[in-house]
């Protein structure tokens, strides 16, 4: 499959973005006041998710009536939400509801799960949470058929990969990871989470440099909206746990995946320590390549509690 419309637009948008700084990647904002770059909202999973999206201008800014949306949570492990290895079910179901309220035609919740699909859908609680929302569609895709070979524009080494077909065909991509530590990439947040939309993850470990490959993947799979579940964070022994879970009651949202990830890195005590985002190699590389910004101190941050 060659570049489809959406990927092409995103590629253009990415170029524009790196030129024009933090200009919104979506349609021209109708808001009188420019929305913040980052929203950090304290509160319960549902309320904080709603408020975070609201702070960025509301879901209507990202999802137009009739559009097809893919939400990419982390539901790769068959662990209960308390273990903080997967996205809180209420964060995912709230995002689904928001997309539906914005008039989305289809809302697909997708992940290429690491453990068995059925087990993951059941034990993460995500399928159950989305069940009451008619029209929601929660699935794990682990078979090669579900993926289409795609080139990664602008990448130097990691130039092609097979991406979940439904994602290529979607109009909007929303990243909805959970905040957790990762033994080989420091953290697993929105950028690392995009590995859940490709088929061959193994080669990222042996053929390519994992960190630059994650940054390269972002050229192709750049979320229009990133909402990170920091209601609790797995601060040690990620990504599969069991590890230390810290209750944080926060949701972080941004249109910039790198900024959202950087924000979460800086606010969670990993192994009980403060670690700056530049210590996460894929975040550092993405920033250097102009794919997003890790200098969160220079960004416009909206903080609130609900």
């Amino acid at each position: 499959m060659s570049l489809d419309r959406r990927t092409f637009l995103k590629w253009q948008a990415a170029t524009a973005l790196s030129l024009a700084g933090s200009c919104a990647a979506g349609p021209l904002s109708v808001w009188a006041q420019k929305p913040p770059d980052l929203a950090v909202i304290q509160g319960g999973p549902e309320a904080a998710t709603r408020a975070a999206v609201e702070a960025l201008g509301g879901m209507g800014r990202f999802v137009r009536p009739g559009q097809r949306v893919v939400i990419k949570p982390n539901m790769s492990f068959d662990n209960p939400p308390e273990m903080a290895t997967t996205t809180h079910p209420a964060v995912v179901s709230t995002l689904v509801a928001l997309c539906q309220e914005a008039g989305a035609d289809t809302v697909m919740v997708r992940d290429h799960t690491l453990r068995g699909v059925e087990q993951c859908l059941e034990h993460t609680g995500i399928r159950e949470a989305c069940q009451p929302l008619s029209g929601s569609d929660v699935r794990g895709v682990n078979v090669p058929d579900g993926f289409a070979p795609t080139s990664i524009p602008g990448a130097t080494h990691y130039t092609e990969t097979a991406v979940m077909g439904e994602v290529l065909e979607a109009d909007v991509l929303i990243a909805a990871p959970v905040a957790k530590h990762h033994g080989s990439t420091g953290v697993s947040l929105s950028m690392k989470g995009m590995m859940g939309l490709i088929y061959n993850r193994g080669e990222l470990h042996w053929r390519y440099n994992l960190h630059t490959a994650i940054a390269d993947l972002m050229r192709l799979l750049r979320a229009d909206l990133t909402v990170i579940d920091v209601t609790r964070a797995l601060t040690t022994n990620g990504p599969s746990g069991p590890g230390e879970v810290k209750q944080m009651d926060t949701v972080v949202a941004s249109t910039d995946m790198v900024a959202a990830d950087a924000q979460v890195v800086s606010m969670v005590p990993w192994y009980g320590r403060n670690i700056t985002p530049d210590k996460v190699e894929h975040i550092r590389v993405a920033h250097e390549w102009g794919l997003g910004r890790l200098d969160i101190d220079n960004l416009h941050l909206h903080r609130a509690a609900v």
């Binding site: 087990q119 033994g183 042996w206 990504p239």
Partner: protein, 524 residues
């Protein structure tokens, strides 16, 4: 009578196929497959003789013996799924014209010869009855050959939704094909060749059936026209009578008789049975002894530790809850039900990996699929308890082996790559990541006491070819009774999936908060 038989055959075949189909996922508790397999009198006898005890299935086999003493070999003609399959094959390939090859009647002794050989082998402590037990063969046929084949075809054509996410592959399907193809192929040559001349379970039932109360009888007005003999699947003699134990009570002859003098009643006449001659019986006993001996030889097997003199395959990883190897091999009837039930396709029939002893027994191949931490299917479908049916809490402790890391192949140890997929995949926190002097990235270690041998790491390891982390049989817990959890705790194991802060922290002593180094994954 014919109609009843056909309905009965169809009904039991469908029930059996439903059993095979349902032996998967959430349907396992409803699958009648295990109960079906326990019907097989030969499998029962084989286990009983090898282990000198009452194996599971006493009720089923008891009923079958009772029915046979009353109605004769009605099981073969009305129930047996293999018999029905063979009859179907014969019917589908029936010759349009000309006569089929007709072997001499004396070949009927063959099945007794096979029976004697298998029982003698069992007497020497080597249970080989699965080579000839019809229910074992039928399950193997449908679960390991037909089903994966149907799945393969449907997956690529009409019904992609019908099949599980990944195609089921079966190791050594060539061996299965030769064995099962041979049995089916012979049925093309001579209808129910297997049932007439070879089936040892049929021989067992024939032995009982000769005393059956209800037998085929022919009335006085028989004109000896011979029409009944033309249709008879087991061969009616010149005199219109059938040899003792051979009649399947199928009733095909009844409809053929123009005089309507054939009936099934108490005490019908029969000819002498086809007993093997003394020399044949002795030869069979010798063959059984030889089979028992040669089954236990092989270059690829080394001496087992637990059962003295017992050959053990080098990579012998059994399903969780499998009995100690010796007992396991006696009990396992090689039906393949567990292979069918395994949701990750981890279980495969073995072939020569453990001399001939283990042929067709389930081997856990982690590279193909991991043992799902939440699944207990194999133990649930096992008809004999060769794999114990365990509740989840017990199954987790039924350690299948221990993962061993091969640093020279590992991406983290040898290639300085950020990998640690094994850690990500391990559901038990049994992989520890440590910063080591001279290593650029954190490297994996196996915490042996936490490892249950599920093979999630081996399955996920991105190293090409054989993984850099492999499950070995070392430390496997094989208990024939009692609690795995209790025993595991005694042995100092710590197998758990629960989230627990102390456990989590202690799992990474080398990157404790104050060690000065960055936690694994971060880089300066």
């Amino acid at each position: 009578m014919n109609r009843i038989r056909r309905w009965s055959q169809a009904g039991f075949l469908i029930l059996f196929l439903a059993g095979v189909a349902l032996a998967f996922g959430a349907f396992v508790p409803w699958s009648p497959l295990a109960a079906f397999i326990r019907l097989d009198p030969l499998l029962f006898l084989g286990q009983a003789v090898t282990r000198l005890d009452w194996p599971p299935g006493l009720l089923q086999v008891g009923v079958l013996v009772g029915v046979t003493l009353f109605l004769g070999r009605i099981f073969c003609s009305h129930v047996c799924p293999l018999g029905t399959t063979l009859a179907l094959v014969a019917w589908l390939t029936r010759a349009k014209r000309g006569k089929r090859f007709q072997p001499p009647e004396t070949w009927r002794r063959g099945k007794y010869v096979v029976l004697i050989a298998l029982i003698v082998a069992a007497f020497w402590g080597v249970n080989l009855t699965h080579w000839g037990a019809p229910l074992s063969l039928a399950t193997r046929l449908y679960a390991l050959v037909v089903w994966p084949f149907v799945q393969f075809v449907s997956d690529n054509t009409v019904l992609p939704g019908l099949t599980p996410p990944e195609l089921v592959r079966v190791a050594h399907s060539g061996a299965l094909l030769v064995l099962l193809g041979g049995i089916l192929g012979l049925s093309v040559l001579v209808p129910r060749f297997w049932c007439r001349y070879l089936c040892p379970a049929g021989a067992l039932l024939a032995f009982l059936g000769r005393w059956s109360l209800v037998r085929r009888g022919v009335g006085e007005h028989c004109t000896h026209c011979g029409r009944c003999a033309q249709q008879c699947p087991v061969g009616i003699g010149e005199d219109g009578a059938v040899a003792a134990g051979e009649c399947l009570n199928c009733g095909l002859c009844v409809a053929q008789c123009p005089e309507e003098v054939i009936g099934f009643q108490t005490g019908g006449q029969q000819r002498a049975p086809f007993w093997p001659r003394r020399r044949q019986a002795l030869g069979a006993a010798l063959a059984g002894t030889a089979a028992a001996f040669f089954a236990g030889t092989g270059l690829w097997a080394y001496r087992g530790e637990r059962e003295k003199g017992q050959p053990v395959a080098e990579t012998l990883v059994r399903p969780p809850g499998a009995l100690p190897e010796g007992a396991f091999l006696d009990r396992c009837v090689r039906c393949g039900a567990c292979l069918r039930a395994c949701p990750t396709n981890m279980l495969h029939p073995q072939w020569g990996e453990q001399s001939g002893l283990g042929a067709f027994a389930p081997l856990a191949v982690a590279r193909r699929g991991p043992c799902e931490a939440r699944c207990t299917a194999c133990g649930e479908v096992c008809p004999t308890g060769a794999i114990r049916s365990l509740p989840l809490t017990e199954k987790l402790w039924a350690k299948m082996g221990t993962a061993r890391l091969l640093p020279s192949k590992c991406l983290a140890w040898e290639w300085d790559r950020s990998c640690l997929v094994c850690d990500e995949a391990c559901p038990f926190g049994a992989i520890d990541l440590r910063r080591e002097p001279g290593q650029k990235v954190a490297v994996p270690y196996v915490l042996e006491d936490r490892c249950t041998g599920c093979g999630a790491c081996e399955h996920a390891c991105p190293v090409q070819g054989q993984a850099a982390i492999q499950v070995t049989p070392m430390g496997a817990l094989r208990l024939d009774s009692g609690s795995f959890r209790q025993r595991g705790r005694q042995l100092g194991l710590d197998i758990s999936r629960t989230h627990d802060k102390d456990r989590a922290l202690s799992s990474d002593p080398h990157s404790a908060p104050d060690s000065g180094q960055l936690p694994p994954g971060f880089s300066s």
